[in-house]
Symmetry: C2
Subunit: 209 residues, 2 copies
Amino acid sequence: MREPTPRPGGRTARNREQVLAAVSAELAENGYDALTIDTVAARAGVHRTTVYRRWRNVGGLLADVIAAAGDLDWQPRDTGSLTDDLTALNEEIQESLLAQPSIAAALIAVSFRSSEAADGLARMWAARYAQCEIVVERAVRRGEIPADTDPRALLIAATAPIYHCLMLLRTPPDPGLPARAAASTVTAARAGAFRAGAPLHPGSPSPPQ
Amino acid sequence: MREPTPRPGGRTARNREQVLAAVSAELAENGYDALTIDTVAARAGVHRTTVYRRWRNVGGLLADVIAAAGDLDWQPRDTGSLTDDLTALNEEIQESLLAQPSIAAALIAVSFRSSEAADGLARMWAARYAQCEIVVERAVRRGEIPADTDPRALLIAATAPIYHCLMLLRTPPDPGLPARAAASTVTAARAGAFRAGAPLHPGSPSPPQ
């Protein structure tokens, strides 16, 4: 195999990768309080003035770590069924929050202290939910759910319980939750619960089977 | 009206109330970094040694604020319909997170820094969800949903989107979300999505209407 030709800016790109990897590692291992430009520069093996010049402060580093995570060429799974696509998505979320150490969990924690991190995460999540809308569009095309289903409302309903249980309620991880949250959301979606003009009050009670 | 007779321990109880109110106010206004035994004692108008003796440190104060919030004689609304009960619950959650300043949001933020606060909040939420199970039991008794519905799974599904949107995604408040999250959860519950032995994969796709 030939050596790849160095692109212009190759060293800059490599520096950025090393610095952002160092931020993630420091954050996950030692937390926000220990995070400084100096510890990051030392861990990345990059001169501290390079880090100061490009990222200015810890907030700048955090915003760029989150932006880089959003840049990844990520796509939701395409299993052929809405329930399985959502289960795969939830399992990916659950794994990322339970990883030891978890960069995702560390960034969520930091978002309560740094407005740069909070804004960055909000943008990243908006982009990620937009990337997931194709899962809902495919289900509509297969005839699984009504055509006027609101993709974002459905995706929030499917994924919110995973974040809620692990990050706020801090209940022990439940390996069945990703599939159950997916299945109950699909049941609601099929019945039209996420249709753009869905009535707030489902019709009169019907007896349970 | 007669003056209420002072109970034994009345001053201690009054001190606790003043100190915990001062913690909540300091936290919501100035944040965790500014929270010290001294600022709390000064704001409460209580001697600092009293605070040190009873609560030891900031972690002890936070744990007691959360425990006191859980002590409240709170009960979920009883409107006569599951959708309306869950909507009322979600509206209460949304209001508490949007209050300016919000003690609930401040405590969630602190839970990412203080393990005492994290443990205290986990206990408080466990108790609060248990208190809400009656909402599901009443719906079962009215025949709205199947008898073997898992109350906790239903309550998590109904409430998680409110916390998720406001505390993690940080999207602008959506006044319709409490009712929509309630309605879609009830639709799923009626179709048996939260039954204890619910199949993970709902049956074959049915065409949308």
